[in-house]
Symmetry: C2
């Protein structure tokens, strides 16, 4: 298989732990996902797990990084950026455990001392950098009002998506995709 180097086993085991953690979060939720429970699911002792991920938070950050990577790969195969973004939101509605992990970790990461603080700041910058060009191009095409500040649009769509996710977790009848689409409609000339 891939990676017959010195760390091949370690990398495979990391992947195995990530999958086990995802399964635990999906079924029992983020709140009940203790290091012990994830270690049990991965067939490992808690200390064994922490050999691969330095701390509980680092494990969770690794999970979110893996999701980001997947989402970006999916978006690349999509012709339209807006459609790709809406597709990610639509997909999120099918993995409540992951959304819970994202929202909760982000709320905790407001504290600059939190282990995930750097990750979320970097993620925000990267997502905005990835979309800024496409957004400005859409404004030049006339698909989006040119009098609106592109950075304001990105901050707003991002904040709206995050806020709708917490609203949806509190009340699953909330239609996140429909509400986002309504907002995007307001941006058109």
């Amino acid at each position: 298989m891939a990676g017959r180097g010195v760390y091949a086993k370690g990398i495979a085991k990391r992947e195995e732990i990530l999958q086990a953690a995802l399964a635990v979060i999906a079924s029992h939720g983020y709140r009940a996902a203790s290091v012990r429970e994830i270690a049990d699911a991965a067939g490992l002792s808690p200390a064994g797990l922490l050999h691969y991920f330095g701390s509980k938070e680092e494990l969770f950050v690794a999970i979110l990084e893996a999701r980001d990577k997947q989402d970006f790969a999916d978006a690349d195969s999509e012709p339209d950026d807006i459609v790709a973004f809406l597709e990610v939101m639509r997909h999120n509605a099918s993995v409540p455990g992951l959304v819970q992990l994202y929202s909760q970790l982000q709320a905790e990461a407001g504290d600059p001392e939190h282990p995930a603080h750097a990750y979320f700041r970097k993620r925000t910058a990267e997502v905005h950098d990835a979309f800024r060009g496409h957004l400005i191009a859409a404004q030049e095409r006339g698909d989006i009002r040119a009098d609106l500040d592109p950075d304001w649009i990105m901050r707003s769509v991002h904040a709206l998506a995050d806020g709708l996710q917490t609203a949806w977790m509190l009340d699953p009848t909330v239609d996140m995709v429909a509400d986002i689409e309504q907002f995007l409609g307001l941006l058109r000339p």
Copy 2:
């Protein structure tokens, strides 16, 4: 003073604990605010504190309810609802500890089993009920586009405010009030 009934002392003590908890959260943040630390600040044992509030989460819910009550009272003295809402957002930027508590507890409360789940669902319904009438009146006056669904507007403003608060905690240079005002501008005919 007010309340010389049988429970006067208990009520006063509850208030004292609430203030101590607020002080701890403001200085050390929500994350480090353990029951023991708050109890110490209030000059009480952990068990003594839990006599007044059944659990840590109930104490935090009581703090948020006290804030809501204050915010609503402030809003009532304001002639314009939009101005009152923006004033609350502006004030929030001066109490990061409270915003952290709100965001984090709300993220945790996505789980229906969480002790604060009912509080946040009730709060959302109450806030929306309080504003729906004013919003529809504004649409009839022509201050806000009449072709927009009032419930969509409330969900969006609410979600945007929540999302901007987490963005602001990650990056304090974010101007929550300015971004909200920009959005409100889009709603005008």
